[in-house]
Subunit: 264 residues, 2 copies
DNA sequence: TATTATTGTATTTATTTGACACAATAAAAC
DNA sequence: GTTTTATTGTGTCAAATAAATACAATAATA
């Protein structure tokens, strides 16, 4: 296991005193690749447990800024689409001290080199956590694990492992929110590369809605909304007609989203 | 000004030690009366300032339970429709100590009989607050002011006074959420009395959507959804045809809401 | 008994949707 | 070079939905 440097330890020990003691945030960072919706997960060094990327809020920091900071630390990305979706306040979220997960975190931190008892107790606090979700261009993100984690990876939402605490519930809520808010969120613009085919866009909608859409009707509806620019054809190398590439007319797209784009 | 009893003071002073120190909640409690959407507001004893009913969360209490407790304390109502809509985490929410509102609260509490300096400092804390909204049958609610307030009143959402802190923003967000979630919320069942006319239902929708709906088309659409029971006519005493009274078939209504009732 | 305002329902027209047809086409197979 | 293949862009057509309007029914009044 990688030990942390003394300065990493000192940094976190300093920060703990400046964090709000009972509030955290967790980010459901979604991307889209190989026609799959993916979420960024962390895997702990000590026992391989999976969790959502999260963090704490400095006493003099806006909750929103803290969410942007966590997103930046995990992906290197700034100024992205980031939306709060729910705050989880079950008193059972404080179950750490008496249960395996709490003991395990303290062992983990001890092994990493933490010695300050105040800091070792930190994760025993009850945290009310606010869930944020971000939609990012997966090709531009550079996943970075945090100090508790060995890795930071994109996982398909169709095959999510058991996550710590209530993180599976948090992720589930984020996906539900995404579906309900679908018509008001810049899904395509956030998740697809600059240029994409109509099939890319359709598969994205299908993976969010979890149901197939009829190809030619999808194309007709989308084109009628008139927020796409058509570009050159994409020669795919396959033995069939080549599709056009499209990009978003961002102004028209955002104007339409204000009142919701009707799909469902 | 009414002084509080010694036991009321002792109660709150005891409770403060058991509250989470940086989290609060505020309730946007909505009712419907005289064809107007109304919200329950409190008016402080000391200076007549208006605010949303709110409260704090006990260290061993679920956030949701705390919201139900506040709702019950202000309206006497239990087990109602209550939904979280947003958490407000601006660091400026902690501006109390240096600004007029903070000084004013301490003066207020001193005049009410509070002496414990820990308690007088309580409102200087930075609170991240979670907004809940409730939809209630206004005729069944019994508004009760809290210990800081002289009155607890229903105000039309069309004429909201200046509220303390960011409470106008919180209320605005709740109404926006209500509009966007309209098709998924039991608006009619929660806000109307057991029996109502089609006009009552239409006016309710119009006051939420803020736009007129065509009468006969509204009636046709609603009846086609088949979740209303028709009862006897209501003789209004006016020189025209008497409307039928309707009530909800609650099972069918809730089944439809799961997938959203299309209106907008 | 005629008048009035509102209600319940029907009609008419335009628009949207879902299902499917089909020619166009880029590359591979022959 | 011709045929085959899979996919794309567009068209069609019937069914469903929506918006605007018409109109008879009716409870109370004049």
């Amino acid at each position: 296991m990688d030990d942390l440097t003394q300065s990493q330890i000192a940094d976190f020990e300093d920060q703990v005193a400046d964090f709000l003691p009972n509030h955290s945030l967790d980010c459901v960072i979604l991307g889209y690749e190989h026609q799959q919706l993916k979420v960024l997960l962390l895997q702990w060094k000590i026992n391989g447990a999976w969790c959502l990327p999260g963090g704490f809020i400095f006493k003099d920091e806006d909750l929103t800024s803290a969410a942007h900071r966590v997103l930046r630390e995990r992906t290197g990305l700034r100024q992205l689409f980031l939306n709060q979706f729910h705050t989880f306040g079950s008193q059972k979220r404080a179950a750490h001290p008496t249960e395996r997960e709490g003991q395990m975190i303290r062992e983990h931190m001890t092994q990493l080199g933490f010695r300050n008892p105040e800091v070792l107790k930190w994760f025993d606090n009850r945290f009310i956590t606010t869930g944020y979700f971000a939609l990012v261009d997966i090709s531009k993100a550079q996943p970075q694990p945090d100090f508790l984690s060995a890795s930071c990876e994109w996982k398909s939402v169709d095959s999510i492992p058991k996550l710590i605490l209530d993180h599976n519930e948090i992720l589930g809520r984020a996906l539900e929110y995404l579906r309900i808010q679908l018509n008001y969120l810049p899904i395509g613009l956030s998740l697809l590369p600059k240029k994409f085919t109509m099939q890319d866009l359709q598969k994205l909608y299908e993976s969010i809605l979890q149901r197939p859409l009829e190809r030619s009707n999808f194309q007709r509806k989308i084109l009628k909304l008139n927020f796409l620019n058509r570009h050159e054809k994409q020669m795919t190398g396959a033995a069939n007609k080549a599709p056009y590439l499209y990009s978003f007319n961002e102004k028209k797209y955002h104007d339409l989203l204000e009142n919701g784009i009707g799909f469902l």
